[in-house]
């Protein structure tokens, strides 16, 4: 298997080849999309090992069912749906977690890894549905209507979750509020 031959290829033809069972094409899709899916799941579960396990499940399922994908151009949306469904199944399996009530995150540093760590700790204080709505909104840039459709929650519930989650994160991550924007993203 050598996915290098597809390095410069557009995504849609790769999806078409993967649907026909081309493993090299799927490997290239995996290379391109793994960081996104792993990030998304990490924001959801705050556990790097679990996030990688879930991401692996997502890509395995994608390989098994990619022949059912009718429109190659909708690969990313389809993959995101698989990831969210995988996370929802995982969340249903777990007992309700005890979320910390009054956690205040001190800034660990201004590099990407430290910010990610602090953000994940803050996200972990949110209840699963609230966290999912926040992640889909801020990480995925989805609108409230899209989140409602995606998660089968009512629009009112999604808006309420995002409002409460945002307030909570603002308070938990208050130490970052004073930091200049350039420093946050440096």
């Amino acid at each position: 298997m050598n996915s290098d031959q597809y390095t410069g290829s557009a995504e849609a033809p790769l999806v078409g080849l993967a649907r026909k069972g081309d493993r090299a094409a799927f490997a290239e899709l995996l290379r391109r999309r793994q960081a996104w899916i792993r990030n998304l799941l990490l924001r959801c579960c705050n556990n790097p090992a679990l996030a990688d396990d879930l991401a692996q499940q997502v890509f395995m399922q994608a390989w098994r069912t990619i022949h059912q994908l009718r429109h190659s151009g909708r690969f990313a949306a389809w993959l995101k749906r698989l990831a969210i469904n995988t996370w929802l199944q995982q969340a249903r399996k777990n007992d309700p977690l005890d979320h910390a009530d009054d956690v205040e995150v001190q800034t660990s540093g201004s590099d990407s890894a430290s910010i990610a760590m602090d953000l994940d700790r803050a996200l972990a204080t949110l209840k699963d549905p609230v966290r999912l709505c926040i992640v889909l909104s801020y990480h995925e840039g989805m609108t409230h209507e899209e989140i409602a459709e995606f998660t089968s929650m009512s629009l009112g519930t999604v808006k309420s979750h995002i409002r409460r989650g945002t307030q909570r994160l603002q308070s938990t991550l208050a130490a970052y509020q004073d930091m200049p924007t350039e420093e946050k993203s440096s």
């Binding site: 298997m1 493993r23 799927f26 490997a27 995996l30 290379r31 793994q34 960081a35 792993r38 990030n39 924001r43 990688d52 991401a55 692996q56 890509f59 395995m60 390989w63 098994r64 990407s112 890894a113 910010i115 990610a116 602090d118 953000l119 994940d120 909104s137 801020y138 990480h139 609108t143 409230h144 808006k159 995002i162 409002r163 945002t166 994160l169 603002q170 991550l173 970052y176 509020q177 924007t181 946050k184 993203s185 440096s186």
Partner: protein, 115 residues
């Protein structure tokens, strides 16, 4: 409330994003995919090998059942004297006709329940 997001939080989410390719992860997933494919092929081969003795073992009773069915299916259910009525009823006046009608009815009911 609109879809507007808190700019400070948005900046944190953007900064926390990691875009590097994790080659170990890619290799692990592809190895699992290959393992899964090998397992599938192996399962089919085993199933095929098991099917041969089972088919051989069942061939005699299966052929007997087919033979019996071939004899029974055309049997008429109600004796009707030769003529126009007998020809008209011929498609349904047999065990095969009843079996066929039952199957069509069950299929229609199944479709109606599902729709």
């Amino acid at each position: 409330m609109t879809d507007a997001r808190d700019p400070g939080l948005q900046a944190l989410f953007d900064a926390a994003r990691e875009d590097t390719v994790n080659e170990a992860f890619v290799a692990r997933v592809m190895a699992d995919i290959e393992k899964g494919q090998r397992l599938t092929i192996f399962s089919w081969v085993i199933a095929g090998l098991l099917l041969v003795p089972v088919a051989w073992w069942l061939s005699t009773p299966l052929l007997g059942a087919v033979d019996l069915a071939t004899q029974l299916l055309p049997d008429t259910l109600i004796a009707v004297e030769e003529g126009f009525l007998a020809q008209l009823l011929a498609p349904v006046n047999s065990i095969a006709g009843v079996v066929g009608l039952t199957f069509v009815g069950a299929w229609a009911a199944y479709r109606k329940i599902l729709s």
